[in-house]
């Protein structure tokens, strides 16, 4: 009987594959690793597709790379989180509209042994200064992602120039995604800056704990950017607009706010009152 049920399950799944993959319209959304690996998109996209019949194909990259992908014309829509790089993108005339859809926060995580004695703090700058003066290992994404840009901004406020940091032995630039940086931090007992979504969904924490959280400077904003038709006539702009509008609609905002992981809300919808 078990065999029969197994076979039934497989048949049902194959039928489901056939019927499920035939969406009539599709767009390519260049996005950040954090909204994908936190499970947010996997949670809200089926609702959108069920309502509109539009499939959203997500290419998850760091924000810097996602913006470049759109600049080259290889994406139809952007969902990213680096205010400065986004502003530059808009200034170059690539973007048409830029709307905030949600926010959450960054945290500084580190080994539970806490060699820099920053655990329990809520001042990110003081935390980074303590890490630097203790020369405690710190992992940097080094991939021009939104998180990487936020990290470098914080270091600057803490009095450390990015170029000088690159020469420090304790500062380790891994050039990878958030998960890769967390893997590295876990393996090297290092501190790193993470977005809360990826941290909560990360399964290889080892001895890592949250060291610093709750600083207003650690706020992390997610924006949806529609492309400028004058520069990107080849992109599927009308279809993309449907998704962008849905994200800021009350239905989309509700879907974002309803997403939880292990009982914790990961994204705060903020289209109505941008942070």
């Amino acid at each position: 009987m078990r065999a029969v049920r197994s076979i039934l399950t497989i048949v049902a799944a194959i039928v489901a594959i056939d019927s499920g993959s035939a969406a009539e319209q599709s767009i390519i959304l260049a996005s950040t690793t954090s909204v994908e690996s936190s499970g947010l998109l996997a949670s809200i996209l089926p609702q959108f597709t069920a309502r509109t019949g539009i499939a959203v194909n997500v290419v998850a990259q760091g924000t810097g790379k996602a913006l470049d992908t759109a600049r080259r014309g290889d994406a139809d829509l952007l969902l990213v989180h680096d205010p400065e790089a986004e502003q530059q993108f808009m200034d170059e005339g690539h973007g048409l509209t830029r709307r905030q859809i949600a926010w959450n926060d960054f945290i500084i995580v580190g080994p539970s042994a806490d060699p820099a004695h920053v655990r329990g703090g809520s001042d990110s700058i003081a935390g980074l200064k303590a890490i630097a003066s203790a020369k405690a290992p710190f992992v940097s994404r080094g991939d021009k992602s939104g998180t990487n840009a936020a990290e470098l901004r914080l270091w600057k406020i803490a009095g450390q120039a990015p170029d000088a940091l690159g020469k420090e032995k304790w500062y380790r630039d891994v050039g990878g995604g958030m998960g890769q940086a967390l893997n590295a931090a876990s393996a090297m007992d290092a501190y790193t800056l993470s977005d809360r979504g990826t941290w909560l969904s990360f399964n290889n924490k080892g001895s890592l704990i949250i060291a610093v959280e709750g600083d207003p400077r650690l706020i992390n904003r997610y924006d949806v950017i529609e492309l400028n038709p004058q520069k990107h006539a080849g992109a599927k702009l009308a279809t993309s607009k449907v998704f962008a509008d849905w994200l800021v609609s009350s239905e989309g905002q509700q879907a974002i706010g309803a997403y939880q992981l292990n009982g914790q809300k990961l994204f705060n919808p903020s289209a109505g009152s941008p942070k």
């Binding site: 399950t9 499970g39 996997a42 194909n57 014309g73 290889d74 990878g176 998960g179 924490k205 992981l261």
Partner: protein
């Protein structure tokens, strides 16, 4: 198929963080597989969804690689034999080049193809970037050198031994190509399997031109890369085991079929 269904689905639950019914444990999922088979094995919506995700990945991976291997074999087999049969100036350099391309870094192939297929690139009008077709092209480029180099090596030996006879029998060099391929058919199998192995196991090129889009261009290798980056090392390892298992079973099947064909062939003569 039953074996597949027993081993995999509980692990698949973790393809989608958030559906998480399974706690992390260092037993590589064996206990969870067991639990899935004997406790949770009902065709519920959740199970179907997880199994569907997993099957999608395996089916996509294998079909992309089979397509690429088929195209590469169509080009590589005659090319390898022709290089052994036709003498022409520069032949040596082409052979050297093909052998050098055995070590072609997939990520470089991916990058060049990415720039070519980009909407702002020369082939952008085709609209192939971030589609399975782009992955087939990338893997074809990687498989052609392996297949043609191996076929060339075997054909060269066969040509040295039977070439004069074939020509004496009145065959032109062009007609000799299928004859030589027939003589070295055992080696062709190895060549094609080596090509398939290269394509199904590679990650650098497909992740660049495919974009690792869930349900569209996510293959076994890109899933392993993704799960590793999310800290799901045990799932990544389980998928790795499936990947190796698929390679082994395809190889075993092909050799079994070839064995049957040989027996059938000897019956005729």
């Amino acid at each position: 198929m039953r074996g597949l269904s027993r081993r995999v689905p509980a692990e698949i639950a973790r393809l989608n963080p958030g559906t998480g019914i399974v706690p992390a444990s260092p037993d590589f999922g064996l206990r969870r597989w067991h639990r899935w088979v004997y406790v949770e094995n009902s065709p519920s919506a959740g199970n179907v969804q997880r199994l569907r995700d997993f099957l999608e990945i395996v089916v996509l991976s294998v079909s992309v690689s089979l397509a690429a291997t088929a195209v590469a074999a169509t080009i590589g087999l005659p090319l390898g034999a022709a290089l052994a049969i036709f003498p022409f100036p520069g032949r040596r350099s082409i052979v050297v080049l093909i052998n050098a391309f055995l070590g072609l870094p997939p990520v470089v192939v991916g990058l060049i193809l990415y720039l070519a297929l980009s909407r702002s690139g020369p082939l952008g009008f085709l609209g192939l970037l971030f589609t399975p077709a782009a992955m087939v092209i990338a893997q074809t480029i990687l498989a052609i050198p392996i297949i043609s180099a191996l076929v060339h090596r075997a054909s060269e030996r066969a040509w040295a031994r039977y070439g004069d006879e074939l020509i004496c029998d009145g065959a032109s060099r062009l007609q000799a190509i299928p004859q030589i391929l027939l003589i070295v058919r055992a080696e062709l199998l190895t060549a094609v399997l080596a090509g398939f192995g290269r394509t199904v196991s590679e990650v650098g090129a497909v992740i660049l031109v495919g974009g690792n889009i869930r349900g569209l261009t996510r293959t076994m290798t890109t899933t392993i890369a993704l799960q590793t980056s999310q800290g799901d090392l045990s799932l990544a390892l389980a998928l790795g085991a499936v990947l190796v298992g698929i390679s082994i079973s395809i190889s075993a099947t092909v050799f079994a079929l070839a064995g049957q064909a040989r027996t059938a062939g000897s019956d005729e003569t």
